[in-house]
């Protein structure tokens, strides 16, 4: 079972070894993590209360949509990975 700790480790790996561990490798770990969550957690929301320099984008997503959002929203991807890698 892929845990949130695995996702955090993958975030650190991506930042430290971007040539051997790609963004897509990271998103696959996120997919495995999301798929291992019970239904109510997959439907739950992860968000921030941020207004990025006038760009009015809602930064709140359902966890089951995280892989898709990470692929499509570069800004959210960068914020999330930075947050996960800090811990």
């Amino acid at each position: 079972m892929t845990t949130f700790l695995d996702v955090r480790n993958a975030a650190q790996k991506l930042l430290q070894q971007p040539y051997s561990f790609s963004k897509e490798d990271f998103i696959k770990v996120v997919e495995e993590y999301v798929n291992s969550l019970p239904e109510w957690k997959r439907e739950s929301i992860v968000g921030i209360v941020s207004e990025m320099n006038g760009i009015k984008i809602t930064k709140a997503v359902m966890r089951k949509d995280l892989p898709k959002v990470l692929r499509e929203d570069e800004e959210f991807f960068n914020l999330w990975i930075k947050t996960l890698a800090k811990g």
């Binding site: 929301i45 990025m52 947050t83």
Partner: protein, 441 residues
């Protein structure tokens, strides 16, 4: 400030209208709610003209320079004219990044105090709800709610902003711990938010006025190594600028807590006992919260401290009470008996002691003390013909409760008479032979 126009605000704002407003009212603070379309700058400026407004809380998207309301409309911007209506206040919104520039800037302009996140404020939520009457409605968001609004509830109860902030941050970490078993991702964000939630300005700021109080206290610590527990006795007194404070004091030491009524002179005492497995240094976080007695105008007070208790080892005494020796040719047998006690004379049972017979190479035996602390060993060792004494050493190496101890004694034993007699006989024979030879010459 409760904008209501997209997912984050749909999730958070109902609790501001419901649970947070109700809890503030219970504490005698009547909030002005700027809800949905009302969460805009013109309404905000109008609301804070009321001289009784001493704080701004709420949720809204933000960045380094701006805290926004409905539809991302800026409510407070770096560079705004900061009037006395702002300067009366403590401003502490839940918003990303405002702690980086906007909140410290407001304090520089004369705002009493502020709290803001220096990074993004992350949250998790189970669902969008309508009423927000009870944080328990959301299995994930509740951890953020219970932590964040400690700041405002404690301010409403009369604590200073600095005290309220410290209690809030502590609650964030406590909630993060609680969240671990439910959702490790939530626990991570709650801890992350706490790490990055910063206070600026006057930590003595209060929402309500009254008689200032102080907690004077002593902490007496003791380690009982024998029975493996630490005791912490906290005694003290709550004093005030005028009058004798009444009410209760809440005392927390690590994961234990007690609420104690103050005596007639404001004094109090509480004892905490902590069992332990290993005799190692332990740190105890102590929090004392005088809850105040606002009906008598006594303001609450928070004190925090930390004590460390070092490992303590019970001194021991090892004795050699008897040594019996016998010799068979070159082999000397030592029957050694001794006793292990602590410094008070209590027998120490079931401990391993080492016994050595010295001189040159050491001969060692180990033995366990019996129920009376007594040990006995037998050691056999060969000695030169004429040697008649040896050093016997008994040693207890100590353990995680008892200290090391050691003693020694000289053991006496006969020489090797058999060899001496043989040599004497030989000498006699040789002497006799020499005498005979000499007489014949």
């Amino acid at each position: 400030m409760a904008p209501y126009y997209e997912i984050a605000t749909y999730i958070w704002s109902p609790y501001l209208r419901g649970w947070v407003s109700r809890e503030l009212e219970k504490r005698g603070i009547m909030p002005i709610l700027l809800w949905g379309p009302g969460a805009v700058k013109t309404k905000y400026i109008e609301a804070i003209k009321d001289k009784d407004v001493k704080g701004t809380l709420g949720v809204g998207h933000g960045n380094n320079d701006v805290f926004t309301g409905q539809n991302y409309e800026p409510i407070i911007n770096v560079g705004d004219k900061i009037t006395d209506d702002y300067k009366r206040q403590c401003i502490a919104p839940v918003s990303c990044l405002v702690g980086k520039k906007l909140m410290p800037w407001l304090v520089e302009q004369g705002v009493q105090c502020s709290v803001g996140e220096v990074t993004e404020y992350w949250f998790t939520a189970e669902k969008i709800i309508q009423n927000g009457d009870d944080p328990e409605e959301d299995k994930l968001l509740k951890y953020y709610m219970y932590a964040e609004y400690v700041f405002w509830y404690r301010l409403a109860e009369g604590f200073t902003a600095g005290e309220a902030y410290r209690m809030m941050i502590r609650e964030y970490y406590r909630q993060a711990k609680l969240a671990e078993s439910i959702d490790e991702e939530t626990a991570y964000y709650v801890r992350y938010d706490a790490d990055n939630r910063k206070f600026f300005g006057d930590d003595k700021f209060r929402l309500i006025e009254g008689i200032e109080t102080q907690i004077q206290y002593n902490v007496i610590t003791q380690r009982n190594a024998q029975d493996r527990f630490d005791s912490i006795i906290i005694n003290g007194k709550v004093i005030a600028q005028s009058g004798v404070p009444t009410g209760k004091i809440y005392i927390e030491v690590n994961d234990q807590n007690k609420e104690v009524s103050l005596n007639n002179d404001g004094s109090f005492t509480a004892t905490f006992i902590f069992d332990w497995d290993k005799n190692v240094e332990k740190t105890y976080q102590i929090t004392l919260i005088y809850k105040g007695d606002l009906s008598n105008k006594f303001l609450p007070k928070l004190e925090e401290t930390e004590v460390k208790i070092e490992p303590t080892y019970i001194p021991t005494k090892i004795e050699i009470t008897d040594i019996k020796t016998s010799r068979d040719a070159s082999v000397v047998t030592f029957n050694i008996t001794g006793k292990l006690t602590d410094v008070k004379g209590n027998q120490i049972k079931n401990k391993t002691v080492e016994v050595y017979v010295g001189d040159g190479k050491l001969y060692e035996e180990t033995a366990k003390t019996d129920d009376n602390g007594v040990f006995s060993v037998t050691i056999e060792k060969s000695y030169p013909v004429l040697q008649t004494k040896a050093t016997v050493i008994a040693r207890f190496n100590g353990d995680d409760v008892y200290q090391h101890s050691e003693t020694s004694k000289i053991a006496k034993f006969p020489p090797n008479w058999e060899v001496i007699r043989t040599i004497a006989t030989a000498i006699t024979i040789v002497a006799t032979a020499i005498a005979i030879i000499l007489s014949l010459l």
